[in-house]
């Protein structure tokens, strides 16, 4: 095994699907000036045009767009909250069920396939793509938010945002509840969503020999129709969700990074700074995709991982070390204890929390799942299904518990000690406000801001590879010019929306794609189990 691939070795058996479809058969090969193109017809064209049309629409009629999408997202997350919560529970059960069943012995790529990547490289990539930036912004702010609302005197009232009626005035219980609720949003459920998508894609691509594209998951259900319009729609939706997910995060992220830079270094918050930030992040992402999966994306993910580990270690050592260590186990217990109530889809009395937080989060993770799932799938060949699920479901969940305990736990402790500025600061500044209370704040804040930027780059580069693959009909060897196009396009969309307004509206549009994708993923679970049952198992 090497981290860059090697000679073809026997892979043992796998149940390759019998279909006449040839990867790339619908592709158009053309020369555009000096650059070669190899693009799927019509997915490339439709998704490109739809994206351009949407951008023009939100720029031309920003108020109307904001009104429509500002209505759409809460309407989706509050009407279908039970559906999101129920579906996410199903994904967790399916993932755990497969992990402990004999299906866990199926190996991705064939019974004798060897892993493409070492554990370190693999884990860095899946973690950087999967959670990334959210950990930086929500690590402090979410636990503080749940803790504060749970402590408040009105906890439990209909207008309260506290999870599960809160624990008014009970400091210890409010802390446990706040941490449990945060971990719930960053633990098993999101990773189960990613795991189901990633495992399905890996299985249908590496074992069944179908193109690496979202539509392939549905082959067991729709047969050869997935190569027609059914598949075109699924893939176009995936491109749409991915590009807008990335572009809006890039735009909103630039706003947040700018705020952080102003707080730390006095760099003015202005359109110029934000455009420079987006250009810089896109520039690094471009270098990364041109350098390729191994020399670019993987290396950056590893750098990202080392920096994140450094910051985490710093908080553990310089924060309330003992409280964090005991808190880790305490929070695990609290998570387990509150999990049934938090994940209950029906008859909730804490609607602000279950709809405004949980349902929104689930829609968000699901809208990101085509992108993250496909990226994880691409780098997971050679692992057994059990190994895959332990590494994509359990280990990241435990890392999330540790991360949230360190960042959120420290912040809550500081707030309780009277340093309430953390809770009062703007969302994007809460991390830096907390770091200010710990030693060598200048260095740790600097690492923090670098991490914010690197996390964006690692999402942007892997996302561009994913969009490129989907719009090339599942080919991962399309001309490099195409991935350059997508990475640049994503930056341009972000800049256009940042300057013209409408970022939040499009984020709402992208997260709203979580609803159709939830249906898609539930069907995907059936296809996954069917597909796994047909596979030979390793000894």
């Amino acid at each position: 095994m090497s981290d860059t691939g090697g000679a073809v070795t026997p892979e043992g058996e796998s149940a390759v699907v019998q279909t006449d479809y040839v990867v790339g058969q619908d592709n158009i090969r053309a020369k555009l000036g000096p650059f070669g193109l190899d693009i799927h017809n019509p997915v490339f064209l439709i998704s490109g045009l739809v994206i351009v049309a949407f951008v023009f629409y939100t720029l031309a009629l920003p108020e109307q767009a904001a009104a429509i999408f500002g209505w759409l997202l809460p309407a989706v997350t509050s009407t279908f909250d039970w559906f999101f919560l129920l579906a996410a529970n199903i994904f967790v059960l399916v993932a755990i069920g497969i992990m402990i069943s004999p299906l866990g012995r199926v190996r991705i790529g064939g019974t004798e396939a060897t892993p493409d990547y070492s554990y370190a490289g693999w884990f860095s990539m899946l973690f950087a793509a999967g959670m990334g930036i959210g950990l930086m912004f929500f690590g402090v702010s979410e636990p503080i938010s749940h803790y504060t609302s749970s402590m408040a005197a009105d906890a439990g009232a209909p207008e309260s945002w506290a999870p599960l009626a809160g624990a008014a005035g009970n400091e210890l219980e409010a802390r446990r509840l706040g941490m449990a609720a945060t971990i719930f949003h960053w633990g098993l459920h999101p990773w189960a969503i990613y795991a189901v998508v990633a495992l399905s894609l890996a299985l249908f691509s590496y074992n069944k020999g179908l193109p690496l594209s979202i539509r392939s998951i549905f082959y067991p259900l729709f047969g050869d129709r997935v190569w027609g319009w059914t598949g075109h729609i699924i893939d176009t939706l995936a491109v749409f969700a991915t590009l807008f997910g990335l572009a809006t995060s890039l735009g909103l992220g630039a706003e947040q990074a700018n705020a952080g830079l102003q707080y730390l270094f006095g760099i003015p918050v202005s359109d110029v700074s934000k455009v420079l930030l987006i250009s810089g992040i896109t520039g690094i992402a471009l270098i990364s995709v041109v350098a390729g999966l191994d020399a670019g994306v993987k290396r950056l993910s590893e750098i990202n991982m080392v920096l994140a580990a450094l910051l985490l270690l710093f908080i553990i050592l310089f924060g309330p070390t003992l409280a964090i260590v005991t808190g880790f186990f305490g929070n695990l217990v609290a998570y387990a204890e509150y999990l049934p109530a938090l994940s209950n889809p029906f008859g909730r009395s804490d609607e602000n929390f279950s709809q405004g937080w949980t349902s929104f989060y689930w829609a968000w993770w699901i809208s990101w799942s085509p992108f993250v799932g496909m990226f994880i799938a691409r780098v997971s060949r050679g692992r057994t299904v059990r190994e895959f699920l332990i590494s994509v479901l359990l280990i990241p969940s435990i890392v999330s518990v540790l991360w949230m305990t360190a960042f959120g736990g420290t912040a809550i402790t500081l707030v309780n000690e009277g340093y309430t500025q953390i809770a009062d600061a703007a969302l994007e500044l809460q991390l830096f406000t907390m770091l200010e209370q710990l030693p060598i704040a200048a260095i740790s804040s600097f690492i923090g801001i670098v991490l914010v930027i690197v996390f964006f780059v690692t999402s942007s580069d892997s996302g561009s590879l994913v969009i490129d693959t989907i719009t090339a009909g599942g080919k991962v060897d399309a001309p490099v010019a195409q991935r350059v196009f997508w990475a640049t396009f994503e930056g341009l969309v972000a800049i256009a929306l940042l300057l013209g307004g409408g970022l939040a509206a499009l984020q709402a549009a992208s997260v709203s794609t979580g609803l159709p994708f939830t249906v898609v993923l539930l069907l995907g679970c059936v296809a996954l189990v069917k597909g796994l049952l047909a596979e030979p198992r390793s000894k």
Binding site: A7, V22, P34, G110, G209, V290, D294, K475
Partner: protein
């Protein structure tokens, strides 16, 4: 003078390789050299093959057919996988030269144009970095 010829082939574009394949065959016959056909594939399904194994089988068949139709002096085939061949194909081919023990590479290329200033051609890069003789066929 030489011991073994390596011919990188792209099974998706065999029609563009004719001149290079014929040149390699002539060299093989006149020096009595074996030819090793090398292909690089993705582990994900491609237009040529749905698994790396299938790719390797197709490459074997291709090599055997070349040897038969052109009357070569011995042949072999070796398939490699790459995570991202759009980018690291050159690197793979350079490693393959050492791996198969070739001391002459015969390889098709296209006529250099503007894109070469941005993305170097594969044959150009291999010729620049390999420590064996490289015959770039245009």
């Amino acid at each position: 003078m030489y011991k073994k010829i390596m011919v990188p082939v792209d099974l998706a574009y065999v029609d563009r390789l004719e001149k290079a394949l014929a040149s390699a065959a002539d060299l093989s016959k006149s020096y009595g050299l074996p030819v090793c056909y090398v292909g690089v594939t993705t582990a994900t399904p491609s237009e040529v093959a749905r698994t790396p194994q299938e790719y390797a089988r197709k490459l074997d068949a291709f090599a055997a057919e070349e040897a038969r139709s052109r009357g070569l002096n011995g042949h072999e085939a070796k398939a490699y996988t790459s995570h991202d061949p759009a980018v690291d194909l050159d690197e793979k081919l350079l490693a393959a030269i050492k791996d198969v023990g070739a001391d002459l590479v015969v390889m098709a290329s296209h006529i250099p144009g503007l894109p070469e200033h941005i993305f170097a051609s594969n044959a150009g890069t291999v010729a620049m970095h390999a420590d064996v003789s490289v015959f770039v066929v245009r």
